[in-house]
Symmetry: C2
Subunit: 345 residues, 2 copies
Amino acid sequence: MKTDKKINRQWLLARRPVGTLTSEDFEYKESAVPTPSEGEVLVRMLYFGYDASQRLWISEHGGYMKPVQVGEPIRCMGIGQVVSSRHADYAEGDLVDGFFSWQDYVVTKPDAQMPLRILPKADYPLSWNLGVFGVGGLTAYFGVTDVLRVKPGDTVVVSAATGATGSIAGDICKALGAKQVIGFAGGPEKCRWILEKAHFDAAIDYKNDDVEQRLRELCPDGVDAYYDNAGGDILDTMFLHMAPRGRMVLCGAMSSDYSDMDGFQGPKNYVLAITKMLRMEGVHLFFYRDRLAEGVAQLARWVEEGKVHVEECLYEGFEKAPELLASVFTGKRPGKMVLKVGDPE
Amino acid sequence: MKTDKKINRQWLLARRPVGTLTSEDFEYKESAVPTPSEGEVLVRMLYFGYDASQRLWISEHGGYMKPVQVGEPIRCMGIGQVVSSRHADYAEGDLVDGFFSWQDYVVTKPDAQMPLRILPKADYPLSWNLGVFGVGGLTAYFGVTDVLRVKPGDTVVVSAATGATGSIAGDICKALGAKQVIGFAGGPEKCRWILEKAHFDAAIDYKNDDVEQRLRELCPDGVDAYYDNAGGDILDTMFLHMAPRGRMVLCGAMSSDYSDMDGFQGPKNYVLAITKMLRMEGVHLFFYRDRLAEGVAQLARWVEEGKVHVEECLYEGFEKAPELLASVFTGKRPGKMVLKVGDPE
């Protein structure tokens, strides 16, 4: 694989994947560096972020975005540097993040579904803009503050608590004065991590514990607020343990493999929402595009105060892009997974 | 069957029912009239109301109330007249409604899960206190105004639109200025009823129409507010047609037979709540016990203005109690089903 930056390395979708991803779903290609048209910018990629949604974007349905077609580069959230700009808001050298794809050079037209965000000069690592100050951290911020509206004294449960969103969500709840923040994680090592690194009060090992029993012990008066990144059986079980008028924020469904829109499991216990008058509400960053700076500012304060723990799963090397995506669903390490593919100038 | 009022006629649970109700699930018995203890009142029953929840109350789990045990009279919402009172708030002759059971005479201790409501002298039929001014109408009122928060210009969909709750919910939405109120009903006759008697703008016949096609035609810009009395496939389909930030109120699940808590179908499309940031929230009258009078007053104004249509399915005769309960799930006529079993003095 050449590293000459005049060549545009690409990872394309080789075929419509079925179920678990394999190397044959992707095709490596080298192309010429593209040229921006009026209103577009050319960006050289520095970091690729990893999100479960990427699996859905390459499915036939695409989820909430246009599906990536066979022969197109794989869409990702990423960080890059503007090489040349034909858009008034962006200048050469700007560091930006937003929707890109697995290429060295991406031509993009800002003002699409998400604005291309110009990253401030800051004293934290550039890649944090994909994690704690990116989709994961900001979704957690608005999910907890605006949807769950966690308040002092609340008992909160967070699933996928070692994830890029879940770990930040738990820390935010604690920062807001929640009485007890309990995280679901898979295996003793991850359970230890959310207690020792993140600021959770208790962990439930969904792979080994009797989940119902643990919830009864830990939350005898019921759960006031539940941050759902899991879906599946965990979501279903949570309905049994919610306190009257409890709130749930729906953020992800990591119990599924995101391989298609029909692969999700509906929670049959949802009827308990009637008699307990529960509120379930989704959260998606598209609805907060005007408030991102507010979220970053508050998260930065909490990080500085040590209340929000930042963890990255940082890899390096353009060639690793496909195998890392598969690992999102097979138990990656805690924190935000990021692949470094270049250095800023 | 004797009608001598000194005998207490009763319909008891003969066995734990499985699936569809049959006459063998009930046992007729005649007992002595019971005597109230301190803090209790003795009520002679005048009307039994019919609710889907009754089926759940006689299941092993009981739903949100203690299950009725074999040998106990079947629980119902009803209207009665106080025969003798050993409770300071109630006097002989008071007309009351609340939780009772299928007997001529019920001894009850007010201030249980729901207060026993003293019915005002009014110029409308007494039985309306079980319908438009009872659980159905009041749940619709709070479900629409407090949970869905329907506002002028909204496109609203209501399922089980000929039901005691659904028909009132639709009329309330229209009274609040909704642009379009669409009802789900089963069969052309019921569809006609919601257009001609209730104030719906359009009907979808879920038994005969192509539901998806009809929703696309009627709601090209999506549904702002959905009042769910159906659950099952209709609820699942509605997720596909909700507008971004749409609201759903969860009120019932008439697509199920309510025979046990495990018999409900989870909506697999609930994941769309994430990307559209939908809000789903249950409604249950237990949480509004302090605001019932407000609801009755507003409903009465709308009824007087002709904005809310009142329909009753009125039957007479104590002996009919069991067969009517089975009919709740097998397509009863529109409106609130009520059985008259006595006259006030």
